[in-house]
Amino acid sequence: MTDLLRRLMRTPQGAIGLILLAVLAAACLFGPWLAPHDPEKMDFLGRFRPLGAQNWFGADQFGRDVLSRLLVGARSTLPMALAATLLGTVAGAVVGTASAYLGGRWDEAIMRTIDAVMAVPGLLLALLLVSTLGNGAGNAMIAIAVTFAPGMARVTRAVALTVRGQDYVKSATVRGERASWIIFREMLPNVMAPVVIEATIRVSFAVMLFATLSFLGLGAQPPASEWGLMVAEARQYVHQAPWILIAPSLAIAMTAIAFNLLGDGLRDAMNPRDER
């Protein structure tokens, strides 16, 4: 693990990604303590106060401190994206591995159905699911997980198919082990590495998707300072105070960049020979 980390730090992408992530993690863990102001404290005289000593990133339509809202908002943005990815990855990995293990007609049926579900554009599926489950951060997370699962199943299956041909799986089958034992104990652990890389890059999609759902009014709800929601609320004040729009936009982009870089760094670190 430390070896991987060292190799990761040696790639420029990995290094920058890790640094950005450290900043984000700090915001998630210590955001409320780092925030210079109460993120919900209104200040009538400070409405739309521009960037300055009093509010480093300016103040919003209620005179709330934008920096404080961003710092505290990291908590309602990042963990949700991570949880959605984790949930979707686990579900997809289980289905994909099972499909590869079962093989034949089952594999065919499962994969074709997954293809069919993937024909529904991700955002549309998430949109329909959230509308059904009801608006809210938790439901948006579930919807994103469901949207991610088919893609992860596909990736996992491709890897699992190669694993399935390996001797240790064959011997387990010969030993007469139960299917669930083989899938969970023999195959899943061995497909993990590529799946983790894929999942890391997906986190950036999850961050964007979650922010998009909040932007459309379906994800996190006011007065939460989720970043996508902050962008949505700021849009109507763009002429008075562009900073309340730009700050959360950049925060979202920075998070997505961090996970993209980390994913690429991981890929390089895990396949040292590939120089691209």
Binding site: G122, L129, S204, T212, F215, A256, I257
Partner: protein, 315 residues
Amino acid sequence: MSASWLLRRLALILYTVFIVSVLVFGITQALPADAAVTLLGENATAEALNAIRERLGLGDPIWWQYLRWVGHAATGDFGLSMRTGQPVGPEMLTALGRSLLLAVAAILVMLVIAVPLGMVAAVRQGKLADMATGLISYLGVSFPEFVTATLLAMLLADTLQWLPATGYVSPLEDFGGAVRHLALPVLTASLILVAHVARMVRSETLDVLHSDYIRAARLKGLPERTVLVRHALRNALLPVVTIVALDVGYLLGGIIVIEEIFAIPGIGRQLMVAVTARDLPSIQAGALIMSATYAVANTLADVAYAVLDKRIRYD
């Protein structure tokens, strides 16, 4: 590519549409608050609600509603919109046309930018141009559409006033106006694609440049430009076909946000409106048409790939 392969692909499209129809119908049935409520707004009395539900046939058993819907949909009849009372099918197809216009324009713009960008980056691997391309790629894939769209509109429409911020003008009515109105949405949609495809082109070109085949061409003494354009480009473009097909799926999702922000009455925006209004026939038709479009685009890409592949391999 054989007849049986094509048949299989067609069967898959049908299977896809079937699964999607079940999925979409199931979801729409579970939606809280029905169209009768949104239709009446704050004047919904129990009697009025019943009157409307009766008129819309919302009282029948679900499986019967599903069969009736699929049966009618197969003939192109998706019913009447609960919101406007207009037939849903034609409305959605018109909207789809506008969305496809946007999508195709975005893909063209993307190709014009992304392919040269990726090739240059590959040829100048490790140089400044490569790093710049890398940076653009990272930025491109890391800005969600709603952020790109909002920032672009803020800059180009509101501050500089170069382009209209929203609205749709049919190219048949006013071509110049249509181009101006489409500029911002197309730019937004193509940005993420550029990032995606430029990376892909770069890595494929690198692969090809390192292949024995190109080495052989160089040994033959062909000029570098010929090597690049005649051989490397054509081989590197092949996988791009696949990624473009995949990106159509992304695009169809992305246009929901883009059309919403730029107020283009395409299928994405119609779907958003339908979801907000709980207009079930419109949601069903829109989601089904959108998914079918994606499935067809995918199949077309596969066919194109098969065709191109044969030519290139025996070039």
